[in-house]
Structure formats: structure tokens, C-alpha cells
Symmetry: C2
Subunit: 322 residues, 2 copies
């Protein structure tokens, strides 16, 4: 069977545009199928089922932030018949480009760029692709659509929670000053505490939590009765160190972590109260947004901050103040 039509006609036939005899359109479509072609437009128009795909690009090879995000994207999009394909890239721009090209070659309908910190960009320019791009938990160009968690709001909730419980001397033990998220969280803490604010910077590790407690309880200084930690690993170190010094958590000191990383927060003794960045919700929003853009809807560029949520476990004491 020969299609025997011009390229323009074939193109119109396959895209269900233009004017032609129904038999002609049908003939072109059948010829294309028999050739084994499965271009996107065809699959959509012809096969009566959509096969949309969103590419998720990340350099978070550990998956700590990207997998909850991906779960949210998948959950939001599977009802639309959309699959999410994750591709991890290292920091080599040349290798990163191979993966982006592969995504474009496979005709994904949109790309969500993600990462392991909000103040760094992926090592590849996604600025002028033929498909829409949305940024989630990674930095992007000024004219892009970006989703991040509202760490300032989350930090305020954590500190206010301890203040509400009657804590009067709250310190902040957090990560390296080079992280934008460290500054955002510390600023929110300082804003509430005011003059007495005290911020200790170190690594994102349990060991730093131990060391910070050694500093705070080691000398001849007044002891804090609340510790707001920059992440859950630091908080776990803090809680362990306090227990080993015979300091009661939450009896003597309230502790709050950040990330609500289940594997750490739930295993802490007692289980850790922590700020959840709601990465799954972030993923849902990013997914629905890139899908809307792929369907031709226009979306205002800019940063969308989604609220964090304080997950109360046992390291802060009861709900009543005082």
C-alpha cells in the first residue's frame, strides 16, 4: 500500500488538520502505522490513548529530595495518563547534555528540573527548549517558573511552637553558611528571637549535633531550653548527646529538626518533631503546572513558595504552653 501523497498532505493527515478526503487521511495514517512510526502527534491523535511523559532531571543522586518530589509528580499526573521518567545527572555539563538530548529525543512533553539545593542550578542550560520547563527545589533563570518550600514560614512555625511551649532560651544549630537555605532559616529564627538569638554553624551531620551540645553544655554559660536544628541529622545528634548528658528531652530541653526525614526523625529517641517541606505537594504542583504548560496554557513566571508543615512528635513536650 502506497501513501502517495505530498509531505504537506501527510503531515496534515497525521495531525488531523487541513482539508482532505477522509479516506486519504485514513490511508496516510495506516501507512504510517505499518511503517512502524510512532511519533507523538500520531500516538495522541490516532491511538485514542495519550502517552504523555514528563522528564524529571536532577543531580540529587541520593534521591533524598528528588524521590518525594517524584512521588508527588507521579501521583498528580498518573490520572492524566502521564508517566514520569527520572534521569540523574552528575555535575559534568557534557554528560548532562547527553541526558537532556535523550529526553528531547524521546519527545517528553515537559521537563521538571530538580536538585539537591535551592541555590544552585543544574550544570545544563534548559532555557530555550522546545518543551516547557519547570524548576522545583533547584534554582532557575529569572523568567522561569520555580517551586520552592517556604523555609522561612516553616522555621517561624518551629520557633514559635517552642516559644508557645514556654521556652525562653532557644538557640539555632544549623549547617554551613554557604547554603541559602541556612540563611533563610536562620533569619526567620532571628526575627522571632530578637536580641538573644544565637546561631551555631557546622556540618549537616549527627556528629555536629554532638559537638554543638558539647559547646553549649561544656562551658560556664547559661544552658538553652530549646534547640532549633537546621536538619534532622543535626537534631538526632543533639537529642542523643543531651540524653547521654542526662539532660531530659523534652523535659529540660525542646528540640525541633528540619526535613522530617522519616528514617531519621522516627528513629530518634524520643521521635523527633520536625519541619516537613512538603516535597510531595511541591512535586504535585510542579507536575500539574508543567502539564498545563505542555497543553498550551500560559503560566506566570516567578517563584512560588509552598508552605512547610510542623510535624509534632515527642521532642518538644505537650501541646500546652508553659
Amino acid at each position: 500500500m502506497a501513501a502517495g501523497v505530498s509531505v504537506a498532505t501527510a503531515s496534515k493527515a497525521l495531525n488531523d488538520t487541513g482539508r482532505m478526503a477522509p479516506e486519504t487521511r485514513e490511508r496516510v495514517k495506516r501507512a504510517a502505522i505499518e511503517l512502524g512510526f510512532r511519533p507523538n502527534a500520531m500516538a495522541r491523535g490516532l491511538l485514542s490513548k495519550r502517552s504523555f511523559t514528563i522528564g524529571l532531571l536532577t543531580n540529587d543522586t541520593y534521591g533524598r529530595f528528588t524521590l518525594p518530589l517524584m512521588a508527588g509528580i507521579s501521583e498528580a499526573l498518573v490520572d492524566h495518563g502521564v508517566s514520569v521518567f527520572l534521569c540523574t545527572i552528575e555535575d559534568d555539563p557534557a554528560l548532562a547534555k547527553i541526558h537532556v538530548d535523550a529526553m528531547l529525543d524521546k519527545q517528553v512533553d515537559g521537563i521538571i528540573a530538580s536538585g539537591k539545593r535551592i541555590d544552585r542550578r543544574l550544570p545544563v542550560d534548559l532555557g530555550h527548549l522546545a518543551v516547557p520547563v519547570v524548576y522545583a527545589f533547584t534554582d532557575g533563570p529569572d523568567d522561569s517558573v520555580r517551586f520552592v518550600s517556604d523555609d522561612a514560614q516553616g522555621s517561624r512555625e518551629a520557633v514559635q511552637w517552642m516559644v508557645g511551649l514556654g521556652r525562653q532560651s532557644i538557640v539555632h544549630v544549623t549547617g554551613p553558611t554557604t547554603f541559602a537555605s541556612v540563611k533563610v532559616r536562620a533569619d526567620a529564627y532571628s526575627e522571632i528571637i530578637g536580641a538573644g538569638a544565637e546561631i551555631l554553624h557546622g556540618k549537616w551531620s549527627e556528629a555536629w549535633g554532638h559537638e554543638a551540645v558539647a559547646q553549649l553544655w561544656g562551658g560556664d554559660r547559661p544552658r538553652p531550653d530549646g534547640i532549633f536544628c537546621g536538619n534532622d541529622q543535626i537534631a538526632r545528634g543533639v537529642v542523643d548527646a543531651l540524653r547521654e548528658r542526662g539532660v531530659g528531652v523534652p523535659g529540660d530541653v525542646s528540640v525541633v529538626g528540619f526535613d522530617n526525614w522519616e528514617i531519621v526523625a522516627a528513629a530518634t529517641r524520643p521521635p523527633l518533631t520536625s519541619v516537613d517541606m512538603n516535597l510531595k505537594t511541591l512535586g504535585k504542583e510542579a507536575g500539574l503546572t508543567v502539564l498545563a504548560m505542555a497543553e498550551g496554557k500560559s503560566v506566570e513566571p516567578g517563584i512560588r513558595k509552598l508552605p512547610c508543615q510542623l510535624v509534632v512528635r515527642q521532642t518538644c513536650g505537650g501541646v500546652e504552653a508553659g
Copy 2:
């Protein structure tokens, strides 16, 4: 421009087979390109750059096992210009099928199926796809190519290491009996210990590690001087519980974990000696194998067990025996 040839001729032209005038072949290829078709065979034969893609399918939504595997696949294949796209599926067969169809629709060159345990299959039949399928860290059909870690060998190394250090009363604290990996590891342990073997089953958690120590040290029974744990979380609980009882690790008791999960093993005090399943190497082998199959090479079906490696940190004491 009209192609104006039969489907059979067009197919031969695009696949560089059959006999025809070079101009005819060229004309068909150009027409196909202008139509916007990018089928696989074309992309490979015509566009002078390959755009191979391997789909990685998993129900390990936490990524604990799949991400190291993926890192290995990527590392092995990126030099071949191959990208790896991960798609996570839940346990709903209908949803799983949507994702598999999407992968096929995007014309991946092969699929690696993975999971969160070696004795369960994914909720979707990958038995008769048009592309090769390899199974890694998940169960598959009898006639499939499957890659798993050699947990028996890894367990033997762990127990023999403690025996070599002079430990004389080694118990095994592990996970639920319903896991095949629990049985494999326990059998290897029993094989070396013989008559005195003692196996305690519980959850895969730190809390169970604490509880097991309470059982072992609580009553009027002889204390073990070595504990081989079924995973790192149990081992971390064991090490913490022993420290809190004033029992020295490694002075009085040697402890070995399983998984070598950096986030747990490195943060344990002292850092945990653990069995590494070499999932990255498993990924490399699975990746190279599915690529070979995609290139038409024939691969013998069956299970390939790849060796584990004991990673020595500080919970077992020095290298000398006794």
C-alpha cells in the same frame, strides 16, 4: 515532495535493507524526517548520533536499593551514549501497565526491572515485550536474566571475620522470616556457627536492635561476644543499646551490619562494619547486559550472583585475631 513508494519499500529504505536506488532511499528518509517522524531505527541509522535509552522500572519508591543500582547503570552506559530513565510504579497493576506502555511508546532500547526485595516480582508482566528485559534485585520469570547479590557469601564473610577475630559466641539478629534474604543470610550464618547458632527475628528497625539486646542481656543467660545483624538499622540499634548498657563495642562485643547504608553505618558510634551488596556493580552488569541484548547479542538466561564485600569500620575491633 512525495515519497510515493510502497510501505515495504519505505520500510526497507528506512532500515537500510533491501535493494533500491540510492536516490529512492534518500527520498524516503527525507520525507520521513520532514513528516517529523523520529522512529528508533531512523534515529540510529540516519541521524549519525545514537540516542539509546534504557528504562529502569522499580517499586522501590524510597530509592534505597534502586538509586545505587541506577548510578551503576548510568556510569556503565553513559560512555555508550545511553541514558537511563527511571520510572517508579506502585503495586497497582493497572497503573504499572500505564508506565510500561509509556516506556515502550518512547521506544526505550531495553528495560531493567528492579525492586525492593529479591523474592517479589513487579506487579506487571514483562515477559513478552519487543525489547530485552533484565531483572536486577527483583524476582523474574525462570527464563529471564536476573542479577542479585550473593548474600550467602557476604554473610559468610561477615561471620568468618568475627570468628577470625576470636569471637566465640556469635548470635544473629535479623528481620522478618517472610523475607528470602533473611533465610539466605541466616542459613549462611548457621552453616559456619553450627550447633551454637541462635537467630532472633524481628523488624528491620533500630527499635528491634534495642529490644534484641534487652533480650540477650536481660536474663540469666551467657552473653554473646559477637552480633551479626540482618541490616544496618538493626545494627545501629544494637550498638546504641550496648553502649547504653556499658558494654564495649568493639571491646566486649563485635557487631556487623548488612547493606552498608552510608547514612546509617557512618553515623553509628563507633562507625559500623557492614556487608555491602555492591548494588552499583550490580547495576553496571545489568546495564551492560541489557545493552548487549538490545544490540542483538544473545545472553544465557539464569541467575547471576555477584559478590558482596565486607566494609570494615570500627565495630569489630582490629585486624588481628584473638
